[in-house]
């Protein structure tokens, strides 16, 4: 895991809050993280705004950070977020001084509401968590980018391989949050390197501005002076 973290160039790692095993059977996960990484506690596993707020308060107390990845799930099969509960939790947590980074469905109106509530960034999904399907609705991400040019947009969940990460970045994401694509690859450190390169390539392509798509060919060599 540590070599994958290093290879990826990631600056932030998200961790979930869970009950401590009382038999002391597990070591602290945090001890395996490089001290240079910013730890971002999350509310993974919460199904209500109330549970997410409780979890967030515990995380802040333990880690002494206001940063929080807010995740309120609505359904066990898809792990799709419950946008209504997410928004409710976001409003409470922002008032309590948290820096809220919410995971949500790729929906522009929800993104606007989360930003209005005071969220520090928006984190739309690309596809269901752990599915590896890649960006399922590129138009939604592109619209979000165009309509919310000043928002920090992190694509959270659904990336399967390097090209998926590149696509997310080409659509204007500021970053990508991932786990399974690297953790379930056969060589996590190598996949992490691929992700780093894909993210850099995608960002450069976004900044460079891609050519328009055309249905028909457009000759790239001059048409005059062809031998007859």
């Amino acid at each position: 895991m540590r070599s994958a973290h290093e290879a990826s160039g990631a600056e932030m790692v998200t961790v979930a809050v869970r009950r401590v095993p009382l038999d002391r059977s597990s070591e602290s996960f945090l001890d395996y993280l490089s001290p240079s990484l910013q730890i971002l506690p999350n509310t993974a596993g919460c199904y209500t705004a109330e549970d997410a707020v409780r979890t967030a308060r515990l995380a802040r107390e333990a880690l002494q950070t206001d940063l929080l990845k807010l995740e309120v799930i609505g359904d066990q099969t898809t792990l799709f977020p419950d946008n209504e509960q997410t928004l409710e939790a976001a409003r409470i947590l922002v008032k309590e001084g948290f820096v809220v980074l919410p995971y949500f469905n790729d929906d522009l109106i929800m993104a606007k509401k989360l930003l209005d509530a005071g969220c520090a960034a928006i984190m739309p999904l690309a596809a269901p968590i752990g599915s590896g399907l890649g960006v399922q609705n590129p138009a939604n991400l592109r619209i979000m980018r165009e309509q919310l040019p000043d928002a920090t947009m992190i694509v959270d969940a659904g990336v399967g391989t390097a090209s998926d990460a590149a696509i997310a970045m080409e659509l204007g994401a500021d970053g990508v949050l991932m786990n399974t694509a690297i953790a379930e690859s056969e060589d996590p450190a190598k996949m992490a390197t691929a992700m780093k390169l894909a993210i850099e390539a995608g960002r450069l392509a976004y900044e460079a501005g891609r050519m328009p798509k055309r249905l028909y060919a457009s000759a790239s060599s001059p048409l005059s002076g062809v031998i007859k």
Binding site: V20, R24, R57, A59, A62
Partner: protein, 67 residues
């Protein structure tokens, strides 16, 4: 006295939250505690008295992905 620790009912012979952590022999770094659904600040562990049937949640952090 009997208290619930992470959902488990346990007989304990202590009186404060700090003593409970010592009795459970838990690593104290980067954990947080909730008593009856309210977070107890680390600085208050020593002075927080427990009573019968209190519900205590003690949490730490784990990574994502498959177990």
């Amino acid at each position: 006295m009997k208290v619930f620790v992470n959902g488990e009912l346990r007989e304990v012979k202590i009186s404060t939250l700090a003593e409970l952590i010592t009795e459970l022999d838990l690593p104290v770094a980067r954990i947080a505690i909730e008593l009856n659904r309210e977070v107890v600040r680390r600085s208050d562990w020593d002075s927080t008295m427990l009573k019968d049937e209190d519900r205590i949640e003690i949490v730490h952090f784990v990574g994502g992905g498959k177990n």
